[in-house]
């Protein structure tokens, strides 16, 4: 198993994954470190997009990894990745239920600079750097369930079947959500004047 400097994985073979799972089941500390260096950044990025709050996402990633380590015996097979994301998505949903009032209203690009910065979160960061993070900003406008699907599809490049497993939703629902989310994304990007960069 080889790790890059940033902690991402260059090539995780199935046997390496099986060894990692075996190590976690045996309480091996090195396996825990490997898990953190392999998955923490990817989980953090997904959680940040879903929750729109990087600091909250950091807590959720830590909780999710702890749950994963302590419940590793419940994992069937060697497919660690979807299982991890499933735990993460469930934790994100739990956090969202705690603050259902957190809704981002879409603002046209020329009004973004007028929005006062409150709190430290990705929403603010996105609003301040609208030209740098236009896709993130557009995703932040989507409803939570759409954000989940879009994040797993565009960022993690999961298949629709895997997304259905991760989100525990029927495949048809995932297809429909992705279709609607893409339409909304396109609308937001066009109205915000961001779309040129994709042509």
């Amino acid at each position: 198993m080889s790790l890059t400097a940033g902690g991402s994985i260059s090539n995780l073979h199935l046997d390496s994954q099986a060894k990692l799972i075996e190590g976690l089941k045996n309480g091996d500390e090195n396996a825990v470190k490997q898990l953190v260096f392999l998955y923490s950044d990817r989980l953090l990025q997904v959680a940040t997009l879903i929750l729109k709050d990087q600091y909250l996402a950091e807590d959720v990633v830590q909780e999710s990894l702890l749950v994963a380590i302590n419940k590793i015996h419940q994992l069937r097979g060697d497919d660690l990745s979807p299982w991890l994301y499933r735990i993460l998505v469930n934790r994100c949903r739990k956090e969202q239920r705690k603050k259902p009032w957190s809704v981002v209203e879409y603002l046209p690009k020329n009004e973004l600079e007028l929005v006062p910065a409150t709190g430290v979160d990705v929403e603010r960061d996105v609003l301040e750097k609208d030209t740098d993070r236009e896709v993130m900003y557009a995703i932040a406008q989507l409803p939570a369930r759409y954000r989940e699907v879009v994040t797993l599809y565009y960022l993690e490049e999961f298949s629709l079947e895997t997304i259905a497993k991760v989100t525990q939703e029927p495949l048809g629902t995932i297809k429909s959500r992705l279709h609607r989310a893409r339409k909304r994304l396109q609308k937001i990007l066009i109205e915000g004047g961001f779309f040129d960069g994709f042509e």
Binding site: L44, T48, L66, N70, V135, I139, Y154
Partner: protein, 107 residues
């Protein structure tokens, strides 16, 4: 004009690339997880097991539930006490009852 999936993926990844844990944070996270794992593997006390079971099945806090149960037990006990008497009192009450019936001429 349709969204170009490939370009969207590339752009999203480049935008979010800076959001990541530092090496220091990763080491801290790993240490916290190892500590958490050890804690989880410790033999659990009865109260902890009871607490886990309780909170896995109901949202009422365990302490509140325990107080409620105690109040219920005390209430039932006080009610039952009215009917609980010793043998001497029972004999006295029986004797008095028989005398009353005899005096009344019903028996």
């Amino acid at each position: 004009m349709d969204l170009n999936d490939r370009k969207l993926k590339q752009k999203l990844k480049s935008e979010i690339g800076s959001i990541k844990f530092s090496s220091y944070q990763k080491n801290q996270l790993a240490e916290a997880l190892i500590a958490g794992q050890k804690k989880e593997n410790l033999p659990k006390r009865t109260f902890h097991l009871l607490s886990e079971f309780w909170h896995g099945t109901t949202e009422i806090p365990l302490y509140l539930g325990a107080i409620g149960l105690l109040v219920l037990i005390l209430g039932v006990r006080n009610t039952v006490d009215i009917f609980l008497i010793d043998s001497e009192s029972a004999a006295f009450l029986l004797q008095q009852t028989v005398e009353i019936i005899e005096r009344s001429g019903l028996w």
